[in-house]
Symmetry: C2
């Protein structure tokens, strides 16, 4: 039989039986397990590491939620599921999964309550001036491009980054709480269990899995189904080269050791389709502190290519995929400051022409770009890219300098967004769009909301949201 | 059992048996069938249409070949497999399949001879001044960006578009000859046969297929294997939206009715991996006649974004994927001429400023772009994009005009490049990289050489080349 699959008929017996098996104990897996338990299922969670947490526990902990959560209201922000829907449909790539986006937006306020019920603490304080994780315990941040062009003209902006209350440890805190809740709800957690194969009936139904634990193979049966929440594949060089080779240029790979695509391969072996395997979240955190948004990002032709006040996930995606990772942030003395995530100053010059020459740009290119930019900036305008007025200052005070934003010289943080194709119920689909009986998935083992077009918190967001869905539907499957 | 798969145990008998089944009679299928026959196999070809030909018969007929073919030599061009390898490795996306590219380049001169042996006529005359299919019977053209930046600095350029000798009918001619050769070699051709399922043994080996023909289901056994050569999926709206949504913006879909991804779905049902499902060939044929390369292509910010003398496949890819299909070709009176593929004049103006305004570009943007371009063009230089000197003329003679190159107002021709993952032997691979026993593939049902980074003729090229490989290996399988 093919790699990753065991025929039921080949197994003499199962070593253990339950209703729902969850593979992987990150945020998506914990959510699936908790929800399956809440719907009466007997649940076993298999985690290959020595403890739960996964990539979620290494993350910034931001959860993208909105539509008028209690936290947003407590911080004085109006939001609406419809406005959130408009933003995500406009920002999440060329053809977002409308049904998933719709469900996610409408269910978002209640999903926030659910996270709070699991013990995840959020402080009702909005933090201005940083993208993503704040340096303190504040609970709400901008984590996307909602309030900048072109999205501010498409949907009413609201900050939607919900951050658990522990400075620089929001991800670990989130996972402490979700793993505790998984334990408390009575799911059986088996660490050190690596799933090698899915067990299939001859009719294609997934009825369990074979795991290796402490040197032995164990076969586990699941009456309702198996939920794959094993993460993406940023740490598998072969898959990255085959499917998402551009991400190899990124210097920082965001992922636990387990992000090697194993669950994606298991799902495919069982007949699953995949979506957007080329896509990645690519962050270029060069405009922190925000004052640096007053600079201009230029490409190898000395041209601007984006509004610099866009979210750093959008900056990174455009710089990597449209400019081949060749970019610099040009500043004058008036707006120069130290960048939060250290990177090299690529060049300095007493004039734009000197800086242009130092950077090896085409003669006259940066000079022309700056002249046009300054002409409009003096009038608080940016007709080409529509940067907001807060950051429109002519750059004319020598010396001039440029931060290196090339993939060779700068921090690009990446993880994969492609994976198993699922429906809004967390069911894994085959290439014809039909659910594979008994197989579920959530989190970055699946293709989620953003493919590409990332706003931070969407992975913890769709992972927990659709993880719950998968757990619930698998539990119902077991009891039917 | 899952959609697309029939278990061998469920079949009482096969209606017909042979060594190798080929699914689809386009260029790849014909090549697979001919080569399998040449290696002694009993071959059945199943074609769902009423006659063979497929998309290959609708194409321009250009075959990308090189490394020093007899045709290249007869036309006075030196070429070398190593130079061809360098060009393809540099142009075919971020991570070309090196083993396939290597084989293709080294085998290219002999593959040309094979096509000639099948009766495909090529006239040993080089045609200057057009990209792709010439208007006459000339046999050799430029069909890529070999002789322009950046590739002219990476590999020694040579024209590699080999065109069968029938004006505007080179594709039909190619397929007349290949289908005739398929008939002549003794392969059994069954038209009107639509393959619904692959037949799998319990160990996963593909041993045949089930086809529907004239209202009845027929089961066919293949001792050596099944070769999927069913084409891409440009004509399947659901697959296009799911996998390659940007291609939906292209006004012209290059493909026969059968390009609905059916073979890709069959292969996946049998456990196949796919590669680069997002990728497409996107042609923007706006610089024909070549004199129009003297214009400048600009984006919605009034900036240039590419050397205009690049091949139109490269222009289209950059315009669609990096500029979101927002582009215009700006000309002055000195270089204006009628474009071969009609498109609208978007605007005219007595000055660059007037044209800029008419196009609704950001104030000052096109004026600045033209000023910088002209300054360098007067010195026969293009430091930003390195357009060749033949097309570097300052644009300064009023009136000025712009051809519409937006996806809304212009011809973009597209087909899909992603598909089943195969090795250089035409074997279809699973997600772990292991061959699926008995399953082979070639042509646009598979991911080929260009993913993306298209030069015309690569699909007919890799389809026929690796189609032959698949036929040969499947035949060997049958006799072992």
């Amino acid at each position: 039989m093919r790699s990753g699959i065991r025929r039921r008929a080949e197994l003499s017996r199962f070593d253990e039986e339950c209703d729902v098996i969850v593979v992987g104990l990150g945020a998506a897996g914990a959510s699936a397990a908790i929800e399956a338990r809440a719907h009466g299922a007997e649940v076993v969670v298999l985690e290959r590491a020595a403890a739960g947490g996964g990539t979620s526990a290494m993350s910034g902990g931001v959860v993208y939620l909105g539509g008028g959560t209690a936290l947003q209201r407590a911080c004085g922000f109006d939001d609406d599921p419809e406005e959130m829907f408009r933003y995500l449909m406009a920002s999440c790539g060329e053809a977002p999964d409308e049904a998933k986006v719709r469900d996610y937006c409408e269910g978002s306020p209640a999903h926030y309550e659910w996270l709070v019920e699991q013990g995840v603490p959020f402080n009702p304080v909005f933090h201005h001036g940083c993208s993503g994780e704040p340096p303190n315990e504040d609970g709400l941040v901008w984590s996307g491009s909602e309030n900048v062009w072109p999205f501010d003209g498409i949907a009413k902006p609201a900050p939607r980054g919900h951050v658990p209350a522990r400075p620089h440890q929001a991800g670990p805190l989130l996972m402490e709480k979700l793993v505790s809740a998984t334990e408390a709800c009575g799911a059986g957690i088996r660490t050190g269990h690596r799933v090698l194969e899915l067990v299939l009936e001859d009719d294609g139904r997934v009825v369990g899995c074979v795991a290796r634990a402490f040197g032995e193979e164990r076969a586990l049966a699941a009456r309702g189904g198996v939920v794959l929440t094993t993460g993406g594949f940023i740490n598998d060089d072969a898959m990255l080269e085959a499917h998402a080779p551009w991400l190899r240029r990124c210097s920082f790979r965001v992922g636990a050791e387990g992000d090697d695509g194993s669950g994606i391969r298991l799902g495919m072996a069982a007949g699953a389709d995949t979506l957007h395997m080329e896509a990645g979240s690519v962050s270029l955190p060069v405009t922190q502190p925000w004052g640096l948004k007053r600079g201009i990002l230029i490409n190898a032709q000395g041209q601007r290519f984006i509004n610099e006040d866009a979210y750093y996930g959008r900056l990174g995606e455009h710089a990597l995929l449209r400019q081949e990772g060749r970019a610099w942030l040009v500043l004058d003395d008036g707006c120069f400051e130290r960048v939060t995530y250290p990177r090299d100053v690529a060049a300095v010059g007493e004039s734009p022409a000197e800086l242009e020459q130092e950077l090896g740009l085409p003669p006259g290119s940066l000079v022309a770009t700056l002249a046009l930019y300054n002409e409009h900036a003096r009038k608080q305008q940016d007709p080409a890219f529509h940067k907001g007025p807060d950051y429109l200052t002519p750059l004319e005070t020598p010396p001039f300098g440029a931060y290196d934003c090339t993939t060779e010289g700068s921090l690009y943080a990446a993880f994969t967004l492609g994976g198993l194709r699922t429906d809004p119920f967390g069911r894994v689909l085959d290439p014809a769009g039909a659910p594979i009986p008994g197989l579920f998935g959530a989190g970055r083992a699946t293709s989620g909301l953003a493919v590409p077009g990332y706003s931070s918190g969407l992975s913890l967001g769709d992972g927990t949201f659709f993880g719950r869905r998968a757990g619930k539907v698998a539990a119902a499957e077991a009891s039917s």
